[in-house]
């Protein structure tokens, strides 16, 4: 490896290596102050790589099982918005967390999650992607439980269960992918998967494995718990770059751009639609603004999933779908995390003036999510609409209508969010350091469209079409009507669904046998659970678990037995060779 290679290896690995280095520095007392000062800027190298490093170069780094780093046009966009968000959230967190032990702990997990997130975007090989993905998933746990409350730990537990479940699909999925591709290179994956006889299995494993991160139904139930539990900068990165990593996993590992069974695209599109509307309906019943945002994320990820489904249905138009999904992902990451950062600002606003300003900022973010004209949301919706048009059969008409209806729902959901924020005040110290990153984000959401390639005026123009204006208007009108008329008609008591919705029956089911036992009803499950307490069963269990194995083991130790086994092995090995 000559100097130039070495230098570029350093350059390309720095986005993942710098956070790791900072974690080590945080762990060691002497270097801790320096690390604390630098931690907010840990994503800077990634940002620089995203801006300057360019697409197409792939360098090999002799780490892991031989990993490769590089960028494609898609991952460049992912890296750009992810690194940007990590930077903003890092600066924000520096001021939000203050100094001291909790801050160090938070930044430890923050940096580890960042390392995983940025690493998986940059890596160009299966093993690297998988390992960074795992690092990100497990490190996020620390962000979730940071508050240390009982709810936080419950959320963390639910989150971990989903992560481990996802693992169970991902590990075999990833290994299968590399086996069928005969290579660890990501570029070769989609085609290899499409041609493999095992493609159905691989498709399922990848869909479910990354689905836990994307929050596809019914694997969505951790989101409404973890967003409220995490502190605002943590929730911002979880809802921004982290959740998009699951989407990136789908984009990289599913056989996109290849002709595959129609069933796959249909399944994904339907799953996306279900999540899109389910999120809105359940979200409207939430009281906690962060839970509302979580359901909004479920819904919005659903729309991106629809885009992917359409892309699979119409492989020839895949570049268009890919662009739409990428734009949508960037938009949603920015807008959603801006709402979380804004929530933090609003909570700490200590004067009516700052509070009004903060609410205004939230309104901008909410409008962007709703897809109001001149926001990034409108651009995202527009590109999705273009993609939908490429779908085969009667899909375009149906999907287009649903997209517009969905936009009404999203607007209502955002209104629900704003109403939920209004009554809250928790005065605290408000630093400029909280305002500035947030303001930057809002600027990106609104003016960022001007930076898109093409004529800015034209881009602004497409966001002003009838199909973007009417859903938002209708949504706002409906919300206003509800706000004004609701109390008079006694409608303020909307139905309440606990955050995590299906989690409630799930936990109930898991606790069922215990409850039945308490009620005196024996069930097979209860009997199983009862075993250790029943002396007769305990006896058997002890025998099976301890006595028999120990007895068998001690009989194997008899010299006679052991040496006869040895002789038998000699003879068997000979005859095994003979017989073939």
């Amino acid at each position: 490896m000559n100097f130039g290679d070495f230098f570029s290896a350093i350059l390309w690995t720095s986005p993942a290596a710098v956070p790791l280095l900072l974690i080590i520095m945080l762990a060691l007392k002497p270097s801790r102050p320096l690390a604390e000062a630098l931690a907010p800027l840990a994503a800077a190298p990634a940002f620089l790589v995203a801006v300057f490093a360019g697409v197409g170069t792939v360098i090999e780094v002799p780490l892991l099982l031989g990993t490769r780093f590089g960028l494609t046009e898609t991952t460049q966009v992912f890296l750009l918005f992810s690194a940007g968000l990590w930077l903003l959230a890092g600066l924000y967190a520096r001021f939000y967390m203050g100094d001291g032990g909790p801050s160090v702990r938070f930044f430890g997990f923050f940096l580890a999650t960042m390392c995983g997130n940025l690493g998986l975007i940059l890596t160009r090989d299966v093993v690297g992607f998988y390992l960074f993905f795992i690092l990100m998933s497990f490190a996020s746990y620390g962000l979730v439980v940071h508050g240390g409350s009982r709810q936080a730990f419950r959320a963390g537990r639910v989150y971990l269960i989903l992560v481990v479940a996802g693992e169970a699909f991902l590990l075999p999925g990833m290994i299968l992918v590399s086996v069928v591709a005969g290579s660890y290179q990501l570029e070769e994956v989609p085609a290899a998967v499409a041609e493999s006889p095992l493609r159905g299995l691989i498709f399922f494993l990848i869909f479910a494995g990354f689905g836990t991160k994307v929050s596809v139904l019914p694997l969505h139930f951790s989101l409404p718990l973890i967003y409220p539990a995490a502190p605002p900068p943590g929730a911002a990165v979880l809802s921004g770059p982290v959740i998009k990593a699951g989407l990136l996993g789908w984009l990289l590992f599913l056989p996109t751009g290849e002709a595959g069974p129609l069933f796959w695209g249909t399944l994904i599109a339907v799953a996306g639609l279900a999540a899109a509307f389910y999120g809105v309906f359940i979200g409207l019943t939430q009281e906690n603004p962060k839970a509302v945002l979580a359901y909004s994320s479920i819904s919005q990820m659903g729309w991106m999933t629809v885009g992917l489904g359409v892309g699979l249905l119409a492989p020839e138009a895949w570049p268009l779908a890919l662009a739409a999904i990428t734009v949508y992902a960037a938009h949603h990451a920015l807008a959603k995390s801006s709402l979380f950062l804004g929530l933090g600002v609003t909570e700490r606003s200590n004067s009516p003036r700052t509070r009004r300003l903060a609410l205004a900022g939230l309104l901008v973010g909410a409008l962007a999510i709703a897809g109001a004209p001149l926001t990034s949301g409108a651009v995202a919706k527009y590109s999705l609409k273009e993609t939908i048009a490429t779908a085969p059969g009667s899909w375009p008409g149906v999907l287009d209508a649903l997209l517009q209806v969905g936009a009404v729902g999203t607007t209502l959901l955002m209104a629900r969010f704003l109403f939920a924020v209004l009554p809250r005040t928790e005065p605290g110290k408000l630093f400029a350091g909280l305002w500035l990153p947030w303001a930057a984000q809002l600027g990106l959401i609104t003016f960022g469209i001007l930076a898109l390639p093409g004529n800015p005026l034209q881009t602004a123009g497409v966001t002003l079409s009838f199909s973007t204006i009417w859903p938002v208007t209708l949504g706002v009108l409906l919300a206003a009507a509800f706000w004004i008329l609701g109390p008079r008609m006694g409608l303020e008591a909307t139905p309440r669904v606990p955050p995590g919705d299906i989690l409630v029956p799930l936990t109930w089911l898991m606790g069922l046998s215990g409850r039945l036992r308490e009620a005196g009803i024996p069930s097979p499950a209860a009997r199983l659970a009862d075993r250790p307490t029943n002396p007769r069963y305990a006896h058997y269990s002890e025998k099976l678990r301890v006595v028999y194995p120990t007895w068998l083991e001690s009989s194997l130790r008899y010299w006679v037995v052991a040496s006869l086994v040895f002789l038998a092995l000699v003879l068997t090995l000979t005859f095994v060779n003979l017989s073939v």
Binding site: S183, L556, V565, V570, L573, N577
Partner: protein
Amino acid sequence: MTGSAIVVPIMLPLLAATLTFFFRRGAITMSLLTAAGTIAAVVVLSLEVMDQGPLSYTIGGWDAPLGIELYADGLAAVMLLMSAFVGTAITVYAAGYFSGKPAVARHFWPLWMFAWSSLNVIFLSADIFNLYVGLELMGISAVALLTLEGERDALTAGMRYLLVSLLGSLAYLLGVALLYGTFGVLAVQEIGEQMFPSPATWTALALVTAGMALKTALFPLHFWLPPAHSSAPSPVSALLSALVVKGSFYLLLRLWFDVFPEAVTPAAGQLLGILGAAAIVWGSILALVQRRLKLLVAYSTVAQIGYLFILFALLTPEAWSGGVYHALSHAFAKAAMFMAAGTLMHALGNDDLDTLDGSSERFPLSVYAFGLAGITLMGLPFSGGFTAKWLLLSAALETGQWWYVTVVLFGGLLAAGYLLRALAHLLTPTPTVKVQHEPARGTEATALILACVALLLGLVSAPILELLQVGAPLGSMIP
């Protein structure tokens, strides 16, 4: 003169063995110098192998088949690196461990130097009879090290181990006799080239394989291992579990892939694979019910050895590399684990799991070492064990042998079960932790460093796997 580095890992420990036998003082210094020299030589050798491909070295100026040659390919280099680094750690740990026991230490040093050189003799030899001498050197020194402290359990375990070891070696020697009778040469490479199936070669294969399976403690021939490894002095437990079983495993690997490939049938490989899978399950089940920490760790070795044998059933480049990588990372992790367990046992008087409650408060470094080593044994991501399991799983999926996937994954879960059970005891807070002896200086840190290396092996797999591909028998892996 190029390539002379190859004799250093053999001659330097032998020189140290003679000197430490002869002089009462300075044994630790001599051993540390040996360690440093061995590491330097092995690193140089590995770089040469990486650079120039497999190396041969003629001894006495006589080429094979008349003379004996040393041979170093990627596999040998990786094994030498393993023995050099783990051996150095054992040297450092033992210096602390035996500091208060001059009468035991006096014999420990020459015996350990003999054991160390015997491993390197085996890793480098390209002559089947010379390998027999190496095996006996290893067997006798291993047993003598085990019985060093003269405790009752260790003596009986040592007696059993010696009988096992001699039986295994004699089976091997009989195999050598049959091979010489058939081919009239002793050089590994020549026999490999001439190999053809015949009753004598089948019998030789069976004898050699069974002998090495016995010495490597493959289920159901593992009966001698748990008593031996658990009753030995802690540095010896570490070196037996980490290195000595790898010596005979290495020999088996060499013979199957370099000597016998023309005579082996897939069915024989499947038999070993099935025994390996059984070892994983059986070792784990027994580890789960142990009440003593060192026995638990010893049964974990029984289980982990199972992974090594799966490669014989899968027979792809990935499986071969994965098996060897498992041997490598297990060496570091298990040495660390036995060292940590030994420190705790020495400090708290015994290694009953209940006695060890709360040791994490007094000996956090040892408990960290135990936990980190556990990560590798469970095969969690970013550890050396993960790399090994990834490769084994790839091979199992590639060859469509699904049930090995289940066994490997299930084995990871079982490992988590027994290790977490031990860790739960170590982490249980208790008001009174009675410390009988303070651990010697450096012993805790040594275990921790080894455990960290076992983890790091996951991060830097690529260069090691690349080295391993030099002269690999089944071709190269997925790039």
